[in-house]
């Protein structure tokens, strides 16, 4: 290893086919890996099961925000039409449920949609500026025609020679070690 390279980030196995990646993911899941991920050009069916991903929290947040929006809408309309500035419209009661349905529905959808949007961004880690995979040009490949599995060096199971054996034994023709390039630059200067 060249001394000038930055800190060890992890290792990747690159596949040309989704099927060996599915096998690999299943084995990594069974081996008990915690810090690892798969990158594919499109959503590979069955990968979430092979990786053993838990159900996302997002649907729960969405529905909670939706119901919060509905209660908020009803409360807002009650405050405006019945409490703060009561005006009789069309002979209807000040607090008339049917008339409040459209706004309630819209705010339900709006709150649910904005929460989904925000939580997806947050949960995907989109606020991160940089990943070592970018420097290694891996994202370029993973977004066109290659299937990449990533093992992070922070995982307790991480041992360079073991991971290499693990990857090669499962049909990864292309195994690479990834260093943090921005670290190296700081070392060099």
């Amino acid at each position: 290893m060249p001394e000038s390279s930055g800190s060890l980030q992890g290792m990747v196995g690159v596949f040309d086919d989704p099927t060996p990646l599915l096998h690999m993911a299943g084995k990594a899941r069974d081996a008990g890996w915690k810090h690892w991920d798969c990158h594919t050009p499109y959503p590979v069916h069955g990968l979430e099961k092979a990786m053993g991903l838990r159900d996302s929290l997002i649907p729960f947040l969405t529905i909670s925000a939706g119901f919060f929006g509905a209660v908020f809408a009803k409360g807002m309309q009650w405050y405006m039409s019945d409490y703060d500035f009561p005006v009789i419209v069309g002979g209807k009661p000040l607090f008339s449920l049917p008339a409040f349905v459209p706004v309630t529905f819209e705010l339900f959808v709006l709150f649910a949609a904005l929460t989904t949007f925000g939580s997806v961004i947050l949960f995907c880690g989109l606020c991160r500026w940089h990943s070592p995979l970018h420097d290694a040009n891996l994202m370029l490949e993973a977004t066109s025609d290659r299937y990449v599995v990533w093992f992070d060096a922070t995982d307790a199971l991480f041992e360079e020679s073991e991971v290499r054996k693990f990857l090669e034994g499962n049909g990864a023709g292309d195994v690479r070690v990834v260093y943090n390039e921005s670290d190296r630059r700081s070392v060099e200067t």
């Binding site: 099927t19 069916h45 069955g46 069309g90 049917p98 349905v101 459209p102």
Partner: protein, 413 residues
């Protein structure tokens, strides 16, 4: 090379694992017989004791068959028009329901015979003495009513027959893809005819029970209900065939052909159409309630007084609130038990809907619960069960000759 690749590398075409298992529909036909028998007996009793209420009740029973059969026909046409892959293996179940179309036509005959009891506008003296109704007499008269009904029933009958026959014709594998192309081409003009026929059938059969009432969204309202009931019926047939082991992939790569993904799609459609119904029902109610015009508002007042409010609330909960809340999660949409329960609930909701539309107009109704309705409903359910049982015992449970079958079997996401 794993199993999946092994299947992918096989030549495309007719299922090469031999003829598909068929269910002995005898069980269902045998189950249908006593249901229809009891229904027929109760209908006869109702006819003898309270002929007019029986007329209204018959319209409710007729509506249930209409909703399920024509709703299933709509789903078949949607399948062809979108060129869907996932639903190829589901389509045969919809075709089984469409095969009950003769029962629908048979059920319409008593509607015509009893039209004098059901439809106020059939009486010329009533029409002449009412200035509003006499203005509608060019449309609301018995000969034109029968002519229109004949046109609607022919459209559904002929296109239903066409889609089912063509699909069965492919089963022996001798037909090429042009049969599928033909069905796709036909489904587009049928969609237009379907929209028009269902809209005017809704006006004729259910809106004109109260000839003073008018609502331009009424056709869409009925269509929304039809789509829910059609999908609910298809889910029940599919789940029954799956339970009977007729939908096991013979190559055994994935076990059940109707896997979680397909259950999820059917659940999503059921969920979406239920929400659509809720949206349309609310739209119809909100505008009439807000405008508060006596010439249309009275219809909702009739459905809120004297205990009918309970039926209105039941309608809201069975057709929208419960299906919405139950089917919201992804797990529920792909669970066979939940889907079966929601489908039965949805069909019950269709009955409540028809009951809610028709019964408040019956002049002799003394309470909110009218027992006369049970007979025609049981008869309708029994006859549809017999027709479906007969169909599935004669034909394989999936369209084995469909050129897209292999692709559909590979679909699992």
């Amino acid at each position: 090379m794993n199993e999946r690749e092994a299947i992918l590398n096989r030549p495309q075409g007719v299922l090469d694992a031999g003829p598909h298992p068929r269910v002995g529909g005898r069980m269902v036909r045998l189950a249908g017989l006593p249901v229809a028998g009891v229904g027929g007996l109760l209908s006869l009793l109702a006819l003898v004791f309270s002929p007019q209420l029986f007329g209204f009740s018959w319209l409710v029973g007729f509506g249930l068959i209409w909703a399920v059969c024509v709703g299933a026909l709509f789903l078949i046409a949607m399948h062809h028009i979108t060129g869907a892959i996932w639903s190829v293996v589901v389509r045969r179940s919809a075709e089984a329901l469409v095969s009950a179309m003769p029962v629908l036509i048979l059920f319409f005959v008593p509607v015509v015979l009893m039209s004098g009891w059901i439809f106020e506008w059939t009486h010329e003296d009533v029409m002449a003495s009412d200035p509003i109704l006499s203005g509608k007499s060019a449309y609301l008269n018995l000969p034109f009513f029968i002519l229109r009904a004949a046109a609607f029933l022919s459209i559904w009958g002929i296109f239903g027959w066409y889609f089912v026959r063509r699909s069965l014709k492919q089963d022996d594998g001798s037909e090429g893809p042009e049969v599928t192309h033909g069905m796709r081409r036909t489904s587009a003009p049928f969609a237009i005819l379907f929209a028009l026929s269902v809209t005017f059938a809704a006006f004729d059969w259910y809106m004109s029970v109260q000839p003073h009432f008018f609502s331009t969204i009424f056709g869409v309202y009925m269509f929304a209900g039809l789509a829910v009931s059609g999908q609910a019926g298809v889910v029940l047939v599919v789940l029954w065939l799956r339970r009977k082991g007729c939908l096991v992939d013979k190559t055994a790569a994935f076990g059940q052909i109707i896997d979680d993904a397909r259950l999820y799609h059917m659940g999503t459609l059921l969920f979406a159409f239920s929400c659509f119904w809720g949206y349309i029902a609310m739209s119809q109610f909100l505008l009439i309630w807000y405008a508060n015009l006596p010439e249309e508002g009275f219809w909702f007042v009739d459905r809120w007084k004297d205990g009918w409010a309970w039926i209105s609330v039941l309608l809201m909960f069975t057709r929208f609130v419960f299906p919405f809340l139950i089917l919201l999660s992804r797990k529920a949409k792909s669970s066979t038990t939940t889907l079966a329960a929601v489908s039965i609930l949805a069909l019950f909701g269709q009955v409540v809907d028809l009951y809610w539309l028709v019964m408040p107009e019956a002049p002799e109704n003394t309470s909110v619960f009218i027992w006369q309705v049970i007979g025609p409903l049981l008869l309708a359910v029994g006859l549809v069960l017999i027709a479906v049982g007969r169909f599935v015992s004669r034909h394989s449970a999936i369209p084995v000759g469909d050129p897209l079958l292999e692709e559909s079997r590979m679909y699992h996401a």
